[in-house]
């Protein structure tokens, strides 16, 4: 009974698998060595998604080969909300296509919801739901009709299809619009309807490829409220791709992917803690002079930059430095117009690992002030393990 499947399972996903604590801190190692160092005792089905050496290449232009995905090793436990964060063209959608058994991997293998994507694609597809980046509904049919057709495609009986359609319409908050043709629905409503459609056959794993692209901030927040509710109520495993940093913050763990490779993996807090230091920015009457003053009192190994944005440096506990810096500048007769201390952002993390900013994706563009040049593996010391709730 697919209908009841979600409820039966509930006790299991309200808690994370035992190995979750082992997984999280490993996230700060380079991607090549992240695969479960301690958790070998856990049987494979504990993972909703598991991939080893996954490679997907396409024949490219002029007889060349485009390597969309270049060897992924990842495990996503049941009930986790996992984000794939990366710029456009990083290989996110390709990975999802492979994991949904829509495309065959060139090398490596992947298991999704207990079935191998190459040898048992039918089972994989029956057990996963997908929200594609350019997901489409039949605009000429009503919300209800769209859902009914989809449920029947997945082999639900007529009665079951009707019941499930009513149920997911309720979850999506679209019950009063069920008889409206889809073309009359707003963008946010359509997205919620698409999510509802992906949930019709009670999938164990839900893939969301850029779930909020093209939505305004309000609709985006609504979609995320909806997704959080799904996770909390049904314990669904969500695999989300995004290039919005603030969306990745909603997730339990993040893999930062760039050019087909995972460059960092961990909880949002752990990833940011790896950067460690806050960014302090001062705007003064004379930035060049101020830079000299700051150099005098800041810890000696810190890079201090002075540019059009002001004087900036990275220090631990940034806010406690502001009064000291201001006092010192005052003594040298330099007026401080503004001062700020900001904790590291995921963009800083992305920059740290790729040398590029996620926003610009042009080389050499620092997201905010100076960043440490090379990753320092010593900072994997966060106590944050789950990052949930």
């Amino acid at each position: 009974m697919q209908l009841a499947a979600g409820d039966e399972d509930r006790p299991d996903h309200t808690q994370r698998p035992a190995d979750a604590d082992d997984l999280a801190p490993t996230g700060l190692m380079p991607a090549a060595v992240i695969s479960r160092p301690v958790a070998q005792h856990v049987p494979e089905p504990a993972y909703a998604i598991s991939m080893r050496g996954l490679v997907k290449s396409y024949p490219g232009p002029q007889g060349g080969t485009t390597h969309a995905v270049r060897g992924l090793d990842l495990d996503v436990p049941q009930g986790e909300t996992f984000a794939f964060l990366g710029p456009n063209g990083a290989g996110k959608s390709t990975t999802i296509a492979v994991l949904c058994a829509l495309a065959r991997p060139t090398a490596g293998h992947a298991t999704v919801a207990g079935a191998d994507v190459v040898s048992r694609p039918g089972e994989v597809r029956r057990r996963v739901g997908v929200l594609s980046q350019h997901s489409a509904l039949d605009a000429d049919l009503t919300a209800e009709q769209n859902l009914h057709i989809h449920a029947r495609l997945y082999g639900l009986s007529r009665r079951h299809a009707r019941a499930r359609a009513a149920e997911v319409l309720g979850t999506a908050g679209l019950t009063d619009r069920r008889r409206s043709p889809v073309r009359t629905l707003s963008g946010g409503m359509r997205r919620r309807l698409e999510i509802a459609r992906a949930l019709l056959h009670s999938p164990r794993v839900l893939f969301l490829d850029e779930p909020t692209t093209g939505l305004d901030p309000h609709a985006r927040a609504q979609v995320w409220d909806h997704l959080r509710a799904l996770r909390d109520r049904h314990g669904s495993t969500l695999f989300v791709t995004t290039h919005y940093l603030e969306e990745a913050e909603n997730c339990d763990r993040i893999a930062i992917i760039d050019r087909g490779r995972v460059v960092a993996l961990g909880t949002p807090v752990a990833l940011k803690a790896a950067i460690g230091d806050d960014l302090v920015v001062l705007r003064t009457s004379d930035d060049t002079a101020a830079r000299q003053v700051v150099r005098g009192i800041a810890p000696p190994d810190r890079a201090i930059a002075a540019d059009s944005g002001g004087v900036s440096l990275r220090v631990p506990d940034g806010s406690t430095w502001i009064p000291r810096l201001c006092a010192a500048l005052q003594r040298h007769g330099i007026a401080v117009h503004a001062a700020s201390a900001a904790p590291p952002t995921l963009d800083d993390v992305f920059f740290r690992h790729t040398g590029r900013s996620l926003d610009t994706t042009e080389p050499g563009t620092a997201p905010a002030g100076p960043s440490p040049a090379a990753p320092t593996p010593s900072c994997a010391t966060t106590s944050e393990t789950g990052g949930r709730r």
């Binding site: 009974m1 049941q78 829509l102 207990g114 057709i149």
Partner: protein, 304 residues
């Protein structure tokens, strides 16, 4: 969720192992969990879902449906009515409107049947096709569903036009109507299958439209729907013998002759001066449709 313990009754778990079906994405119908009956039911439900979608679209877009029906009606009543006075009955064996009727039935089913091909392309472009491909059924089933849906909607529209039989001087004989309906199902199926075979190998809707514009005109004029084929020069007559639409029109016309012997129209297709038997014509039409459908399914099943 708690591992592989959750099984749907539709899909009892069977260890498939790396069977030959493990070749994956394309021919994956054997890789589903579950026995053959459960799998067959799943595939049938998917076909039903696609037919249901087409019927819902037909019912939901009334203006569009009405406009599609208006087209052959105008031909039949305006063109047919106008030319009826000019064309002597002796040259055709029947009145011109009666002569035109089978051709217009074919035109009525042809438009929605071809629309299926266009929709396959637009579905691909809009991303709806990807949603369909995610369904746990084989791709051949999806194509079959499209074909069944197209056949069904085309025949439904043709059935409406059958209501005009009285205005062109044909009796409302139940058996005649059943025969014509059967002929239209066959014609719809073949045209839908041909349209799908064309659509699976094309990526752009515009290419499809251009190609259709190019080939539809000769196909229609060589179908014998508007004028008798024997009026054509010899080479055109030979071409017509290779035109599936000509067989469809001939089939419908001979159904009428069969039930209403006094409405014996001029003969259509001839092979070396002899008219092929009716069952052979029907069989050829069916075979063309099946071959086109198989080819399209094969092409469609190739992983992208």
């Amino acid at each position: 969720m708690s591992g592989p313990t959750v099984q749907t009754p539709d899909a009892p778990h069977t260890p498939d192992g790396p069977a030959p079906a493990a070749s994956g994405i394309s021919g994956d119908s054997g890789a589903h969990g579950g026995g053959a009956p459960a799998r067959l039911r799943q595939e049938l439900r998917a076909i039903h879902a696609l037919v249901h979608r087409d019927l819902l679209r037909l019912a939901g877009r009334r203006t569009h449906t009405a406009l599609m029906l208006l087209h052959p009606m105008l031909y039949l009543l305006v063109l047919g009515g106008g030319l009826a006075a000019l064309i002597p009955r002796a040259s055709l064996g029947v009145g011109y409107q009666t002569y035109l009727f089978p051709g217009m039935l074919m035109m009525t089913v042809q438009t929605p049947a071809i629309m299926v091909g266009i929709r396959l392309i637009t579905d691909r472009q809009s991303g709806y096709l990807r949603e369909l491909l995610m369904a746990p059924v084989s791709r051949a089933t999806l194509l079959l569903g499209h074909c069944a849906g197209g056949t069904m909607t085309a025949t439904a529209q043709g059935a409406v036009l059958l209501g005009l039989a009285g205005t062109v001087g044909l009796p409302y004989d139940p058996l005649l109507l059943v025969l014509l309906l059967g002929g239209m199902i066959l014609a719809s199926f073949t045209i839908t299958a041909l349209a799908l075979a064309l659509a699976v190998s094309l990526r752009g809707a515009e290419t499809f439209h251009t190609l259709l514009g190019l080939i539809m005109m000769p196909l229609l004029f060589l179908s014998g729907g508007f004028f008798p084929l024997h009026a054509l020069p010899g080479w055109a007559h030979t071409l017509a013998a290779a035109n599936p639409l000509a067989y469809a029109v001939d089939l419908l016309r001979r159904c009428i002759t069969h039930r209403v012997p006094d409405q014996e129209a001029a003969t259509g297709i001839e092979w070396a001066g002899r008219q092929p038997p009716l069952p052979l014509e029907a069989g050829l039409l069916l075979a063309t449709g099946i071959v086109a459908l198989l080819w399209a399914a094969r092409r469609f099943s190739r992983p992208e």
